[in-house]
Structure formats: C-alpha cells, structure tokens
C-alpha cells in the first residue's frame, strides 16, 4: 500500500494513496466521463489520462477543493480537448439520433431504454451544455461550484443550464416529459 502513495506536498496531508482513491472514486469519475463523452472505451481512456496527469502534476494541487473536484476539473479539460477532435463526428451522429426517435417506439420504452435515450440525447448537446447538466444532475454540484469548476460566472452557469434543459427537451420525443412529477412517462420511481 505504501508504494502507491503519491509524494504531494499538498496542504492537507503529506502523502496520498492513489490505489485507495481509485477504489473509492475511480468508478464515479469513469461514469461522469461516460456521460460527458458517451463512449465507454473513450471514458476509460479519459479517466486513465486524467489520473496520469494528476499524478504528474500532484504538486500543483493546492488543497483549495476536494481531490475529486480537482480531478474532475482535469477530466473536464480532457473531455473538451477530446470533443474538439470529435466535433465532426458528433455532428454527423446528430442526424442519426434524431431519426432514431419514432413516436411508436416511445410507447414501448421501458425505463432502461428511456435512460439510454436521455444519455444518447445528451451527446447531441454542445460541450458546455453537457458539462453543466452532468455537473448539476449527476455530480449534484451547486451553481457556484459549477461556476468554479467550469471557470465561468454563476449567471452564465444558470443561463447554460436553462438552455441545456430546453435543448434536451427538444431532442427527446414529446412523450418523454422531463418535468413530470414521477419523471418521464416511462421513467420514474416505482
């Protein structure tokens, strides 16, 4: 265990167990990466790159935020870089995704498919909109935390959140009501 400790020189402790961090937060980071990029293999690569970058720049961690938040910031930057490379591909898929929603099909949706539809629709949002949705509704961050994490003002975060939800609604079929008290028609608490 001791061999997996990172020399850090951080403010809160002198060493950090990477193995323990991966065990406790690795999966969460991966899931967030998956929601941001929409592909499991890419998400694995992004998390791997995130952790390696974190190990290399461990001395830069100033202890002003939680380690997970710091790592998530690195992940966001890597996702943005990745998305810039993939932009063309994403726009091409846009057409396919919209065509995939057929009204008859919706009625047969079960919860898993509905969840998948929402996650797939997320991939058609812009990078900024996807980021705020994931940070807000998956990571459960508050507005000011999202503002810090993404480096924009609180007003911008609220505006992006508003338009992101609106875009998501437009990308989903009308039968799926994101604002229904029990979730969508197909998704909800049993």
């Amino acid at each position: 265990m001791a061999e997996n400790q990172c020399r850090s020189g951080t403010k809160d402790d002198s060493s950090f167990d990477v193995q323990e961090f991966i065990d406790s937060h690795g999966d969460r980071l991966l899931r967030s990466a998956y929601l941001l990029c929409g592909d499991e293999t890419e998400a694995q690569d992004l998390v791997q790159e995130t952790l390696i970058q974190a190990i290399k720049s461990w001395e830069k961690f100033r202890g002003e935020s939680a380690r997970y938040t710091w790592l998530h910031g690195i992940l966001l930057n890597l996702c943005r870089r990745h998305q810039r490379k993939q932009k063309r591909l994403v726009y091409d898929e846009d057409v396919v995704e919209k065509a995939a929603f057929q009204a008859d099909e919706i009625r047969e949706m079960d919860r898993d498919i509905c969840a998948a539809k929402i996650t797939n629709a997320m991939q058609n949002l812009s990078q900024e909109h996807r980021e705020v949705i994931v940070l807000r509704f998956y990571e459960g961050m508050k507005i000011d935390e999202i503002a810090r994490q993404t480096g924009v003002s609180k007003g911008t975060v609220k505006s992006r959140l508003h338009y992101a939800v609106r875009s998501l609604e437009q990308l989903l079929p009308p039968e799926m009501n994101l604002f229904a008290s029990d979730g969508t028609h197909s998704i909800g608490n049993p």
Binding site: E3, N4, C6, R7, V18, Q19, I22, G26, D27, L29, L30, R31, Y34, L35, E40, A43, Q44, V47, Q48, L51, I52, I55, K56, E59, R111, D112, C114, A115, A116, I118, T119, I133, V134, R136, F137, Y138, G140, K142, I143, D144, K154, K158, L161, V165, L178, F179, A180, S181, D182, G183, T184, I187, G188, N189
Partner: protein, 192 residues
Amino acid sequence: VNCETFNDVLPEYLDGTLLAAEQAAAREHVAKCGVCQLAVAKQEALARTLQHAFNREVERLSLSAKTREIVLDALKRQELEPTTRRERLLAYLTVPWWNPACAGFAFVCLLMFVFAGHFHVLPAGRSDLQPMARESGDSYVVDVPIESEMHFFRRRNGSVVDAVITEAGIISANFSRNTHPSSSLKQRVNYN
C-alpha cells in the same frame, strides 16, 4: 420577492445558497404563489428524472483492471523521477559522459573552439591579400583585404547550375595617433 425575481434565484434557492434573509423571503413567496410552487416542483422533478436516468445508465460501468494497472505503473515511474531541485541537479550531473547526445555536443564545441580562429584568419592568409601599411608621420594606412562571392544561377537542360565568382577587394583603413590628452584611446581608426 415577486415571481420574476424568484425565478432568477430559483437554482440558488434549491441549493440553499442564498443569504438567510433572501432564503426566508423566497420561501415565504413560494408558500403563497402557486406558479412558483409549480416551478420548484418542476425543477425538483427534472433533477430526479435526470439523476435517475444517469444512474441507471452508468451503474454498470466500472474502471477496468487494465486502466488501474496503467495508472499504477505511471505512479511507480513518477516515484522514480526526481522531484526536488536538488534531485534534478544530481540526476543531471550523473548523466554518463558517454551519453551520445552529450558526447556529440561536447565534440562539436571542441571543434568550434579549435577551428574558430583558423576560419577567421583564412581569407587574410592568402599571399595576394596581405595587408599593406603605408606610414606617413603620425598616421598610417592599412589596406584591409575582403573577399566577396557572387553566385550566378543559370538553368541548363532543366537543372540549375551555380557558378561562384570570388572577388578580392581592398578597403583602406587609416590609423592615426590620438593627440587628445584626456582620451584613453591611443588610436583612431578611420575606415574609408
């Protein structure tokens, strides 16, 4: 607080990050306003729906053993690398002398040092370009040789032929004694 101002602070109200007085005023408004109650309910439902969908979609995912292995390998390599300035300096100083890059660089430096002077005096070394001094009183004139090259490019049979014409020229430098007592300069040089 009216509906418009409440809408502006709705996310912060749900986060509970408003100032205590603002939070209380917003709560009081919601208690009385049906429209804002609906807005709050919609936002809470949206959060539930998306959270539920995301969790359902990603719960099957976990970090692969390969990814873990690669990260821990990177960590081990990082542990072996010097981190402090002193360690980096020591690592630099212990670079083996036969390291090809270092040895090559040192050899080139040595060559430059040895031959720099030779290259510098080469044009003047020609017998027909030796400087000539002509003394007259307190001053004397030195003819300084210079060489120049002219390249003529000519296209012949689809290929470019380069003809180099070397010319030797002479400039005169006039040296005279400095008669000004306060100056430390002993000689004044005039280039013609």
